[in-house]
């Protein structure tokens, strides 16, 4: 046995002002984050994080609670704008455009960078209307037939169509938690985003529903870039190609998932992965 508090004290001093270990760059980046700093009021939440996110890859972000991984994720589609006290500094490029720029149109950004949330949050509308919501807003379908096609395709891609095809008029809140989460994924992919952000998408689900979502993530990778925040390390190991480890607002280590989970270079990453804290 070891003394957790001692360990935490030690790791705190290690974490401060440390450079990110591992290769943060990829050959074919979709998103490039440069020197991202986030503050809630005066309190820093993310410290100078830089990372590339590649095309058609699944990047997993792991780390103990409060380490800033969700905050970083929410920077990628400017969801942090909804929090009054939150301030983001740095540069974030998506298709050569700095999305942190004040001039960026947040609405079209969020259509390009979709998000799936921790708790399934279907609207209190029918299953069909849940999926049709985004396409309708963005005027993606000229008529009902096109809209039907988008809705059915999205449900199909989310692996939900077979289960709900007979009750598309049922309220989105009437299906099971796992189905609801896949409905939310269908809703997100209905507006054909380029990037999908997932904030602990399975934390409210049972193991079977979780397995389904993980399979889905694996399939979605072909068409989308996916960034997933997760607390379950096995999940990160199963679904992702690259893993980023956050600790107390610092991006500590980035690397191929296989490497992070077998031979982590940073001491903090190793302690987290071996379960010394979390």
């Amino acid at each position: 046995m070891f003394d957790n508090e001692e360990l935490l004290k030690e790791t705190k001093s290690q974490a401060l002002n440390s450079e990110t270990v591992g290769n943060i760059h990829v050959d074919d980046p979709r998103i490039i984050a440069k020197n991202i700093n986030v503050f809630y009021g005066d309190k820093p939440a993310i410290n100078n994080a830089s990372i590339d996110i590649g095309k058609n890859e699944v990047l997993a972000m792991i780390g103990p609670s409060g380490c800033g991984k969700s905050t970083f994720l929410r920077c990628l589609n400017r969801m942090n704008d909804t929090i009054d006290t939150c301030r983001v500094e740095g540069e974030l490029f998506l298709d050569n455009e700095n999305i942190l720029d004040k001039k960026t149109d947040v609405v079209s950004l969020r259509a390009k960078v979709g998000m799936v949330f921790q708790k399934p949050n279907p609207f209190p509308k029918s299953i069909y209307d849940n999926v049709a919501y985004g396409p309708k807003i963005h005027g993606m379908a000229k008529n009902k037939i096109e809209l039907d096609e988008i809705v059915f395709k999205s449900l199909d891609k989310a692996g939900l169509f077979e289960e709900v095809k007979d009750r598309l008029d049922a309220p989105g809140t009437s299906i099971s938690g796992g189905q609801q989460q896949r409905l939310c994924i269908a809703r997100t992919i209905a507006v054909s985003p380029e990037v999908i952000l997932m904030d602990e998408p399975c934390s409210a689900l049972d193991p079977i529903a979780t397995a389904k979502i993980e399979e889905l993530i694996y399939d979605l990778k072909k068409n989308f870039t996916i960034v997933i925040v997760t607390h379950a390390m096995q999940q990160a190991a199963r679904v992702s190609q690259r893993t980023a480890y956050f600790h107390l607002g610092n991006l500590v280590e980035v690397g191929p998932t296989s490497k992070i989970f077998t031979t982590p270079q940073h001491k903090l990453t190793e302690s987290y992965i071996t379960g010394r804290f979390g």
Binding site: R110, A111, K112, P122, P124, K125, Y133, G134, I137
Partner: protein
């Protein structure tokens, strides 16, 4: 010896009996383990004796006042008898105190019964009010046919004393009153509904915390202004304003109009609509809003397509509560809309409402055998049922809303 002295004495006795019970159980506790804590033994003696002696007094009063007046005793005797009852009860409970005596359970039971009584008081009083109104209203309906009352279109409640008296036909058609009531409530809701809802949307979705902290309390001040003050406002500011702007367009508007009363009433009920709507809009979970924003919806799209539909039942509930408030309002109407019972849908004319007529009928000298006075109760009964139904519907909608996200 008057009742106050008796009561004070009993309460003092209860306090000392509490102490006695406490003492005895504490002394038992020194050697043995008690079932209940000492304070329960003390409380039980005090509460039991007090209840029994008070019951005794009230039973006795009932007995001598209504049943056998000839047995009337002097007040002093009652006083001593009640003290005796108190002491006997206290002694009985005192003797029962021992280590296995379950005082705690008994005290808890008494508390439960007491709470039950408190919670039924409101219901019983409502039933009482209803019965008294129904009783007088049936007397009215025995003089005036109920169909004449509910479907008559002419309201002129003066009963003629002489054959040839002018303006006293004794007609009790309530339709003009109800149309007047609904006209004014309708105007009020046209004002309060949109303004209240919009301000709720602004406060819950757009305003910064600072702005909200300023605007919300200020809006709620509107609800605290006495209605008679709104009446002044209607008479002195709004009615002349409507009149002069009507003249500008060549309209001849009476200085008392449904519009003036409705406008001011609308202002009065804005806070009902806005603060209930604000609450239900805030109750829409943040993750629903995030979900909508997350697929690229704008703030206003999110509000119109997700937040309002989700909050709609609650908002409707708030609107219905505001309507029942508008229907019951009297003072503004008396001052601004007049008292003449016109059957009209024109908001520029003077109208009157149910509550105003109740007031008019009951002010001054009354005889409780004339239909004029009793008509007030019939009006009250109908009004009671209308607001009851509205409140019932409103509460049900609000309850349904609660189930939606849980």
């Amino acid at each position: 010896m008057n009742m106050t002295v008796i009561l004070i004495t009993l309460v003092l006795l209860a306090a000392s009996s509490y102490y006695v019970g406490l003492k005895k159980s504490v002394s038992i506790q020194k050697s043995e383990k008690l079932h209940s804590a000492p304070i329960y033994h003390g409380s039980l003696i005090a509460i039991y004796s007090l209840i029994v002696s008070l019951l005794f007094i009230s039973m006795w009063r009932l007995f001598e006042n209504y049943l056998y007046p000839e047995f009337s005793l002097s007040k002093n005797l009652i006083f001593f008898l009640s003290l005796l009852v108190f002491l006997i009860t206290a002694l009985i409970v005192f003797l029962k105190i021992e280590k296995n005596f379950r005082a705690r359970e008994k005290v808890e039971n008494i508390i439960e019964i007491f709470l039950l009584i408190c919670s039924t008081v409101a219901i019983l009083i409502t039933i009482g009010i209803l019965l008294s109104v129904i009783f007088e209203a049936t007397r009215f309906f025995s003089m005036v046919p109920i169909t004449d009352f509910l479907f008559g279109t002419h309201w002129s409640p003066q009963i003629p004393i002489r054959e040839d008296q002018v303006g006293s036909s004794g007609a009790f058609g309530a339709i003009p009153l109800f149309t007047g009531t609904f006209l004014i409530a309708f105007i009020a809701m046209i004002i309060a509904g949109p303004i209240g809802l919009m301000s709720a949307i602004y406060m819950s979705e757009y305003a910064t915390k600072k702005t909200r902290d300023i605007i919300k309390p200020l809006t709620e001040i509107l609800a605290g202004i006495p209605t008679v003050v709104y009446g002044f406002f209607a008479v002195i500011v709004v009615a002349p304003f409507i009149r002069s702007s009507g003249e500008y367009f060549g309209l001849n508007i009476a200085s008392e109009s449904a519009l003036a009363a409705g406008l001011v009433m609308g202002i009065m009920i804005i806070p009902f609509v806005s603060s209930i709507s604000d609450d239900v809009i805030n109750a829409v979970p943040q993750n629903l809003k995030d979900g909508s924003l997350g697929v690229g919806a704008t703030k206003s799209e999110t509000i119109v397509k997700v937040i309002i539909p989700a909050a709609l039942p609650g908002i409707i509930g708030g609107l219905l509560l505001a309507i029942s408030r508008a229907i019951g309002e009297t003072m503004i109407v008396v001052m601004a809309a007049g008292m003449s019972a016109n059957l009209t849908a024109n908001p520029l004319e003077a109208v009157t409402t149910v509550t105003v007529q109740i007031l008019v009928l009951l002010v001054g000298d009354q005889e409780f055998d004339s239909p004029k006075t009793l008509a007030a109760f019939a009006l009250g009964l109908v009004l009671f049922f209308m607001t009851l139904i509205l409140n019932y519907v409103a509460l049900n909608i609000v309850r349904k809303y609660r189930e939606q996200y849980e």
